[in-house]
Symmetry: C2
Subunit: 321 residues, 2 copies
């Protein structure tokens, strides 16, 4: 892999991103809780991107990528294939800009996700649920419309946008010792790491992922990008594998990846719901579970935890079997 | 009823309460949401007492009542009979002060409530689940210990403490046109109304209660305190009836009580969970439901909504039948 050809963001790129998108995103609160801190044995500061627009940090990167388009590019709109938060975020960010967003979704995507994307004005094309079909459908619509493909994380501007959550966190709670974020494709974690290590090199940055989807952990350990092969985890935002861009950033800036059991994820999710009265999705419980499983590492530290989102099907909660 | 003998709090009493308890309580955030506002047709500012200590506004009143005790009184501790948030709040506030809290609970109270009170250090005595048994048990322990009875809402200092939530709300969002709060025994609503009408007389103050437990509505309409007789409502924090103190305050300061259906309560609760990613209890959904059912009254106004708490059994959500 020619990693040396990849340009990775500096903290200045992320500061510039923040200056551009700041007025268009929610400045989300940082919450802390005595009882959670006493359970975790550290001072945890939760950066609540579950309160971000569309209910997830993805709105930062999507907004930034769209604002960086040239006038001609922008007019033809944007396109992505996704059934998750990125699709919803891209649809809403495009609507804010007044340009079309073409979303390719597998026909078996959950109704709730189809409705969310449609509700934000996304122009949906359904396709059979295979990777090949998704990519072919995307390429066909792209050639018909001239829309610009916005990858959910293998995209410089998307990663810079995601890094702005860490920037806000450090403004709100400047005495942080460590930051931990979930890692799926790595967009959030790499944006976080690029900002923190550039601006606050003494602050540690960890990723957290399910043991059942530990491709990022293995990729960084073995210095190669492993694909994520049909992982079985409740953390449905963390199913994807690293990309050349996110792999390169994390190789340079991440202090380690911690993996956690499914049981810990559910326990951490429920604990945050009960103690803090906020709704976090399973992927966001992964870094909390990592603190629980690695108490020694975090003991008495001030730990920033990036809560990635809060989109959960309230009819099916994980502790209800 | 000799209402003229009852001293009701002025806004100055509530400001004094705030000066006393401010450092001991959470300063809870005020949250707003574009999508909720678009559904409600107004700008709703949710004062999030679900983020208060013990998960409910009750900690304000309990803390204030305890801080107003004389040294000798305080040493003998406090006592109440309750199975709800007031018991947990009194137990924690007493522990903070280093004095005992005796809590009389019906033996059939939910395990989760028993654990909460015990977890905050409350000294629990169980009794048969009748009003007479509760009161007799309470009087027996009171005479044995010399503890001071702290009524959950028929208590001047408790009401002043509850009013501090509205005080904070007006500091955080000074351009509010109207405030709405749930009403059960009336401690929260009367503290809110006393503060708002004293300090911001142009701001309207409404109460909201379930149609199935509409004793406050009827009491104010007919100028008499009706008892609340075995009401069937999901809003389990609003089962009690007004007291002489809260009735007197509301008669003078409340602009009206709005009643809502059980279906609206569940719909409003789910809507807030889904759109705002915060956990609110059914009682807190009642004022949101009142805005939904009375859209005309609130149209385009800036409405402060006191979210009373977030203590919910996550194993039994109301939309799951």
């Amino acid at each position: 892999m020619a990693t040396q050809e990849i340009t990775i963001p500096s903290h200045l790129d992320i500061e510039n991103a923040f200056n551009l998108i700041g007025k268009h995103i929610n400045s989300t609160p940082v919450l802390t809780s005595r009882s959670v801190n006493s359970i975790l044995g550290c001072n945890a500061y939760l950066k609540c991107e579950n309160f971000q627009r569309v209910g997830a940090f993805k709105f930062r990167g999507a907004t930034h990528a769209i604002m960086r388009l040239g006038i001609d590019e922008a007019q033809s709109g944007v396109i992505t294939h996704s059934s998750g938060n990125h699709a919803a975020a891209l649809a809403l960010a495009a609507r804010q800009k007044g340009i079309p967003a073409y979303i390719v979704m597998p026909e078996n995507a959950p109704e709730i996700k189809k409705k969310a994307v449609a509700g934000y004005g996304g122009i949906i094309t359904f396709c059979p649920p295979t990777q090949t079909d998704r990519e072919q459908t995307m390429l066909r619509i792209k050639s018909q419309t001239g829309a610009t493909f916005i990858h959910p994380y293998d995209n410089f501007n998307v990663v810079c946008g995601q890094g702005t959550a860490a920037l806000e966190l450090m403004q709100q709670q400047p005495d942080i010792d460590m930051v931990i974020a979930p890692v799926g494709g790595g967009g959030l974690l790499s944006g976080t790491a690029a900002f923190i290590k550039g601006r606050f090199p003494h602050v540690k940055v960890y990723g957290a992922e399910p043991k059942n989807a530990d491709d990022a952990y293995r990729s960084l350990r073995d210095h190669t990008i492993y694909p994520s092969v049909k992982p079985q985890t409740i953390a449905d935002g963390l199913l994807t594998s690293l990309s050349p861009l996110t792999y390169t950033i994390l190789s340079q800036h991440c202090d380690g990846i911690l993996t956690v059991s499914e049981q810990s994820i559910i326990e951490a999710m429920r604990m945050v719901w009960e103690r803090m009265k906020i709704i976090i999705e399973p992927s966001s419980a992964v870094p909390v579970a990592a603190i629980m499983e690695n108490a020694q590492l975090f003991r008495n530290k001030r730990v920033g935890v990036i809560i990635s989102g809060g989109n959960v099907d309230l009819n099916h909660l994980p502790w209800q079997g």
